[in-house]
C-alpha cells in the first residue's frame, strides 16, 4: 500500500519534470543572459568596487563589513588562511579579474561547469565580504550561478559543444525547476506584502519609492493604492496566472513591466534585469534558432 503510494507520488514527479519540448533554447538563453547581466553589473560597480572590496581602501574595514553577517564563519577562516600564507594582496588583486574571466568563459560556454562553479565561489567570496551592502540581486545571482553549475547549460551553442561533441539528449526538464522556484518566490512575496496593511492603502508603496532625491512623495494616494493592491495581487496570483495558458502572456508582461518600473523608480537596475531574465527563461517562449524571444 505504502509502496504504491510512494510509487504514484514518484510517477507524478516524473511527469512534472518530463521534457515536453526542447529545453535547449532555455539552457542557452539562461547561460548567456545570466553571465551578461553579471558582467554588466560588476562593470557598472567597478569604479566603486574598491570601496566595498579591497585590502585597504574600503568604506569601513572589510572585517567590519562581514563580522555581523552569517558568512563570518566562512570568510574569517578564508581570510586568516590568506593572511597566514601571505596571499591577501594577491587575492585582492586577482579575485575580481578571475571572476570576470570566469563569467566570460561561462558566456561562451568554455569548460562551462567548472567556470560556473568558479564564478559562483568567487561571487560568494567577493560579494559576501560586504554582505550588509548586498541586496536581492546578489542572492538571485548566487542562485543563478548555482543553476548554471548544476544545469547542463554548456552543452549547446558553446565552445564545449565543439570540443566534447555531446551525444545524449536531455531527459530532464531543468526549466521546470526555475519555473517552480520563481512561482514560490512571487507567491510568498505577495503573501508577505499582503500581510502589511500599507500595501493595501498605498502607504508602503510611498515608503518604498519616496526619497529626498525625487518627487515621488507627491504622487496621488489613489495611484499608490492602485499600484500597491495590483502588486500584491499580481505577485500572490502569479503561479496561477502563469500556469493558465490564456493569462500567461498577460501575467508575464505585467511582471516584466513591474520590474521595469522598479528599475526606473528605485534605480535597482541589476535586480530588475536578473528578474526579467528569470521570467523570460522560465515562461517566455524561447525557440531554437529563432533570433528573438516572444511570449505565448
Amino acid at each position: 500500500m505504502l509502496f504504491k503510494k510512494v510509487n504514484s507520488l514518484y510517477n507524478s514527479l516524473e511527469k512534472l519534470f518530463a521534457v515536453k519540448e526542447s529545453i535547449i533554447p532555455f539552457l542557452v538563453f539562461y547561460r548567456v543572459a545570466i553571465s551578461l547581466v553579471a558582467i554588466i553589473e560588476i562593470t557598472s560597480l567597478f569604479p566603486d568596487l574598491h570601496l566595498f572590496f579591497s585590502q585597504y581602501n574600503t568604506l569601513i574595514p572589510q572585517e567590519l563589513m562581514y563580522i555581523q553577517s552569517g558568512y563570518f564563519k566562512y570568510l574569517h577562516v578564508f581570510y586568516v588562511f590568506l593572511e597566514e600564507n601571505n596571499l591577501t594582496a594577491v587575492f585582492y588583486k586577482l579575485a575580481v579579474p578571475i571572476y570576470i574571466l570566469a563569467l566570460l568563459s561561462l558566456l561562451t560556454g568554455f569548460f562551462t561547469r567548472y567556470t560556473a562553479l568558479l564564478a559562483l565561489l568567487l561571487q560568494l567570496i567577493i560579494f559576501r565580504s560586504f554582505a550588509p551592502f548586498n541586496y536581492g540581486y546578489d542572492y538571485f545571482l548566487t542562485m543563478s550561478l548555482f543553476y548554471c553549475f548544476v544545469f547542463p547549460v554548456g552543452r549547446y551553442y558553446s565552445i564545449d559543444e565543439k570540443i566534447f561533441k555531446y551525444a545524449s539528449k536531455e531527459n530532464f526538464n531543468y526549466r521546470r525547476v526555475l519555473q517552480i522556484h520563481l512561482a514560490i518566490a512571487y507567491c510568498l512575496s505577495g503573501v508577505s506584502k499582503g500581510l502589511d496593511p500599507g500595501w493595501w492603502n498605498g502607504n508602503s508603496v510611498w515608503k518604498a519609492i519616496a526619497s529626498v532625491d525625487n518627487s515621488f512623495f507627491s504622487i496621488s494616494p489613489l495611484i499608490l493604492t492602485f499600484v500597491g493592491i495590483g502588486t500584491v495581487l499580481l505577485e500572490f496570483l502569479y503561479p496561477l496566472l502563469i500556469f493558465l495558458k490564456p493569462t500567461r502572456k498577460y501575467a508575464l508582461t505585467a511582471i516584466i513591466l513591474m520590474h521595469v518600473s522598479i528599475a526606473i523608480m528605485m534605480e535597482l537596475y541589476a535586480f530588475s534585469a536578473i528578474m526579467i531574465v528569470w521570467n523570460i527563461a522560465a515562461y517566455g517562449t524561447l525557440k531554437e534558432k529563432a533570433k528573438h524571444v516572444e511570449t505565448v
Binding site: 560586504f130 550588509p132 541586496y135 514560490i184 529626498v212 512623495f217
Partner: protein, 208 residues
C-alpha cells in the same frame, strides 16, 4: 536510476526553498506584529542551521522573498559633516566617494541594515532590566552581546568619513548622521509637502 536521483534531488531542493521562504515570511510576521518567535524542533531541523547552512549559502536560497513586504521602511542614508576647530561646517557629504548608482544604492541598503541593527541593539539594551550588580551568566551574556553591538555601531560611524578627513587639513572633527525619511500617512498628508527627516543615530569624532 540516475534520473530518479536527479528528480528527487531537485524536488528536495524546491521543497527546501518553499519551506525556507514560507518560514521566513511567517517568522518575520510574528516577530514584527506580535514580537514573538516560534521554535518548533522538527522545523528547526530544516531551517538554516549548522548542518544545512552550507547548502543554503552555496545555493543562495538563504534569502526571503519579502521584497519590501511585512513592513516596508522609508529611505535611509548617512550624512557626514566635516567641521573645523570652531565647529564651522567645512563640507557635507552623503556619498563617501561613491560615484555609481549601483554603489550608492548599496550604500542606502547598508543604511537600512544599520538602522535595523541600531533598533535591535536598543531593544536588547531595554530588555536588560536587572540591577547593575547582577552577575547572572545570562545577564552577563546579554550585556556582552549588546555592548559588542554598541561598539560595532560606534566603529562603523567612526570609519565613515575617516578616509575623507585625510585630505582636509583644516578639519578638526567630523559628525556622521544616519537619517531616515519620517513615514507619513499618504491619506492625511498634504501632497506638496516634502517628507521630513529624522536622525536615527549620530556620532561626532575628533580627527586623530
Amino acid at each position: 536510476m540516475k534520473k530518479k536521483i536527479r528528480i528527487l534531488l531537485y524536488f528536495s531542493h524546491l521543497l527546501l526553498i518553499f519551506f525556507h521562504a514560507s518560514w521566513a515570511t511567517f517568522d518575520a510576521y510574528l516577530s514584527f506584529y506580535h514580537d514573538k518567535s516560534v521554535d518548533i524542533p522538527v522545523i528547526s531541523l530544516l531551517k538554516q542551521n549548522q548542518h544545512t547552512d552550507f547548502y543554503y549559502v552555496i545555493t543562495g536560497i538563504n534569502t526571503g522573498y519579502g521584497f519590501y513586504g511585512i513592513h516596508t521602511s522609508t529611505e535611509k542614508y548617512f550624512r557626514a559633516y566635516y567641521l573645523d576647530s570652531t565647529d564651522n561646517v567645512l563640507k557635507t557629504d552623503r556619498y563617501f566617494n561613491l560615484s555609481t548608482s549601483n554603489g550608492i544604492s548599496r550604500l542606502e541598503g547598508f543604511a537600512s541594515f544599520f538602522s535595523n541593527y541600531v533598533a535591535d541593539t536598543d531593544k536588547l539594551i531595554k530588555s536588560d532590566t536587572t540591577s547593575f550588580e547582577d552577575e547572572n551568566p545570562k545577564t552577563i551574556r546579554l550585556r556582552e552581546h549588546y555592548n559588542f553591538r554598541k561598539d560595532y555601531v560606534a566603529k562603523v560611524l567612526k570609519w565613515y568619513g575617516k578616509n575623507e578627513v585625510k585630505n582636509m587639513p583644516k578639519c578638526d572633527s567630523y559628525k556622521i548622521e544616519l537619517l531616515t525619511l519620517v513615514p507619513q500617512d499618504i491619506w492625511q498628508k498634504k501632497k506638496t509637502i516634502k517628507p521630513q527627516l529624522y536622525v536615527v543615530q549620530e556620532g561626532q569624532f575628533p580627527v586623530q
